[in-house]
Amino acid sequence: MNPSMLMSVVVSVPEGGEPSFSIAKMMAIIVSAVFINNFVLSRFLGICPFLGVSKQLDSAVGMGAAVVFVMVLATLGSWLIYYNMLVPSGLEYLRTITFIIIIASLVQLVELVLQKFSPALYDALGIYLPLITTNCAILGVAVLNIDDKFSLGYSLINSVGAGIGFTLALVLMAGLRERMETANVPAALKGLPIAFLIAGAMSIAFLGFAGLGG
């Protein structure tokens, strides 16, 4: 098989998907993933780390970076395997099992590689990596890319956007919660309830982006 043929198999457009690649569509996907359909505040994906790792700004940034990184790799791996192995053999129903195995092994692999080749990055992201396997945003973006019939390019752009959207929500939340430490909160709402109220207020703000998509 010559390289160009291989290329056409690997990045073939899914049936029913849009064949051409346009900058306008690309921008629409990014704006939609970051703002309009923000993964955390409007799709409710990745709520656990959103509530768990948003107490300090530093750790929020670290977690966000780790999620973007794994999300892009997971999208690449799951897209290629879905369209080049599962679809040709008619095994689409194995999607869920395949994707979760891809994600779990990818997280392990990333952890090992980082530990060996980039100890500094490993120190920064290391503790967040095991948490990512059960982060539903990762599996969510992999499944959504297939459901929306995105081509590989659009899928990667969508996953970058989703990761940025997650990081944005997480960092905003961490900033607000740091301030909340010193605020006078009613006794009944201390802890998680006030965090949910803040998330609700942020979610209202993000509803304002709904008109952007057109």
Partner: protein, 203 residues
Amino acid sequence: MSLAQNFSRGIVKDNPIFKQVLGMCPFLAVTTSVENALGMGAAATFVLVFSNFLVSLFRKVIPSKVRIPSYIVIIATFVTLVDLLMNAYLPALHQSLGIFIPLIVVNCIILGRAEGFANKNKVLPSVLDGIGMGLGFTLAMVVMATFREILGNGSWLGFNLLGESYQNQPLLIAILAPGAFIIMAFILGFFNIMEKRKRGGVK
């Protein structure tokens, strides 16, 4: 611990949603109507019971080093089963739960019970624990969906409760994304107060 306690613990005392705050993603996302809440609850309970059953059955066979990947594969198998069954027999519900059916795989309640209970206990207590936790999850979702559907649509399980005039101008935000966060905040606040009362610390 008696078998009855295994069963009842998950429903109120250790309710996975209100007491342990696990499994938030599907909880916030699909509680826009009571029907969706019941469907999601049934799907999650099914997966929970069977994964607890298998994990408990094989607890002496699975080496502890690879136990988490093994649990995930067991859980993913039953999720695929639910996904296919729902698609075949309840296509409308399948459509409205959408992406949250495959995402049952990463629901922390299910992995949490496999790791925290089923791999240390016999088969019967594990199955009862699965049923209890599943019912607790369903109950919590129905409570939340009751608030959201009545406020946001004026109905309960599809029955019109508040009349035409309310349905023309409902409190729409309750079934939009922010409503989920805000109503959950007040429910958790209510449990905070109850907890304090029980300890006699409320002023």
